[in-house]
């Protein structure tokens, strides 16, 4: 099978994820969409690794997973604490981080 199809899939997933981040307000959903984008990137990395015949892409994919895992831990904690204090998980309500 032509590896390029995987790249098309990765692009599609990335776009879906990106659209989700921009459109949805629920923090959990935004978060899931970010994960989707990260995994789209992983897919692309693995595909390129296959296409070029070296392992660099796969290694970076592992890195991405580790970073994503760490990010989930921090991100979910923030979301939970926001929900506790404000009783909502809408990202538009949390705009405190400005000058």
């Amino acid at each position: 099978m032509n590896p390029v199809y995987y790249l098309y899939l990765a692009a599609l997933l990335f776009t879906i994820g990106g659209a989700g981040v921009l459109i949805r307000r629920n923090a959990i959903v935004v978060f899931m969409c970010i994960e989707l984008m990260l995994n789209a990137c992983n897919l692309a990395f693995v595909t390129f690794s296959r296409m070029h015949g070296n392992l660099d892409g796969q290694i970076i994919a592992f890195f991405t997973m580790v970073v994503a895992a760490a990010e989930v831990v921090v991100g979910l904690a923030i979301i939970v604490s926001i929900f506790r204090t404000r009783h909502t998980a809408s990202v538009d309500d949390a705009s405190l981080m400005k000058l």
Partner: protein, 627 residues
Amino acid sequence: MENLIALLVAAPLVGAALLLCGGSRLDRAGHWIGSLFAVASFAIGAALFADMLGKSPEHRALHQHLYSWIPVGGFRADVAFQLDQLSMTFVLLITGVGSLIHIYSIGYMAHDDRRRRFFGYLNLFLAAMLLLVLADNYLLLYVGWEGVGLASYLLIGFWQHKPSAATAAKKAFLVNRVGDMGLSIAIMLMFTTFGTFAFGPVLASTGATSQGRLTAIGLLLLLAACGKSAQVPLQSWLGDAMEGPTPVSALIHAATMVTAGVYLITRSGAVFNAAPDAQAAVVAVGAVTLLFGAIVGCAKDDIKKALAGSTMSQIGYMIMAAGLGPIGYAFAIMHLVTHGFFKAGLFLGAGSVMHGMNDEVDMRRYGGLRRYMPVTFVTFGLGYLAIIGFPGLSGFFSKDKIIEAAFAKGGTEGWILGGAALLGAAITAFYMTRVMLMTFFGEKRWDPEEVHPHESPKVMTIPMIVLALGSVFAGALFSVNENFVRWLEPVTSFAHGHSPLSATAVTSATMVVLIIGVGIAWAMYGRRPVPATAPRGSLLTRAARRDLLQDDFNHVVLVRGGEHLTRTLVYLDHSVVDGAVNGTAATMGGLSGRLRQLQSGFVRSYAVQMLGGAAVLVAATLLMRGV
């Protein structure tokens, strides 16, 4: 012997250090310590003089090199002294009159609780003045030059609680600094011209350089002399300087410091001899000042200010004589010495009068004092006769010679100068007679209830008597055999002038103007009672009372103008120079305020921005590839 020269300066310097740093422990003995060091310096001077007389005239100059002061590259300034006949004359005058005035001050300042400091300052003055006349190069002379300026500043402002005294002191220092500018630029010019500023090499090689440079040096030295010697146009400080205690006026502002300008010009004679234009300027300044000072002296009712005008005028004579070149140098110095005696005596007499009159200085509130202060009257009277040039007294010999030399200048110039000098003599006779009549003759114009005139104590009258003796006999002593001229000749060189008038004619003319001056004064102040309040007077009188409007000119042009300038600059510094900086800061602040609005806090708008940014980056990369 030459090792004693440094001691000459060191003695009063040690005295000053002791008195000024010693603290109140020395309060009770301060005046004795100060006088002791002054007299010690005089004793050393006398010893050196005796030694000098024993040598042949060509080998009299002594030289002492102490150490190298500022050696930087080709610039070499040394602390070195030179004692020749000219310096010796000054040393004896300074230490002699200085010692007498120290002793006089013991009585005069007896009731001042800062007497110790007064003597410290006087000693400091002696040290600086001796340094001035003993230096062997212009830079060291400059140190003494400003040193006497400092001492003068401290002493004029001695009664600092009086705002007028503090202002007068400041004014004296500032005007002198303008003159000092001339001296320092002259030294720089000497350095670039000759590569040195020691008297010996500079004065010996005036022939090797262009006349333009010499004229410039001469004019700059003249500027310096004008400042220190209160010559037009830098004369305005001397009248105000009378705010200082009277012994200070006698020592600094009559006998010694103000004559430093004459010393400077005489010492630099070689420069002036080779620069006729500079010499002409010196003569002009001297002639103008001798009339200026005399006119001012006629109008003042303050006894000290009248004497200050007279000092200005007499120094004008000396400067004019010094400007005449070799025919005048010796007479300038001779008049300087005799003037030192009689003017110091007159000032001490004035001080004695003030002492007995509760510090009253207005002559319109004196009158008939001869009966109450006989010693003061006699000594003051002898000084008076000397200054107007009464035959046989000091002033007669020295002033007559100057008038003769002025005529000897030759041509129209000689007639103008001689005429000015004669006119000056007439005015001198007028204003001094006026002072004499208003103070010692006529009706009492003081309130016997409040004022009890009395003779001063011995410690004050003895110096006055000594000075009076000097003003009687010094002139004759100097003139016998041309003693003084021959004494100074190795240093200043001397040439006989060829006057179009014979000596007898000049002397008779002087006598005639003298009698006219005295006569007019007698008619105005002797025959008629003197009003206790000054009449309005003519336009000239009123202008002369205000120092011929020079202060008003200074005030309007320099003081007001300067105030406006500094105020404008302060404003500009704040609004323009600093404003530019603060403006930049404000612009940056405004810009960042705008940019801040992009930071809305909404996560999704950030995400859009990131997306946009990423898209731009990708597009840019692709485009670059495409190219």
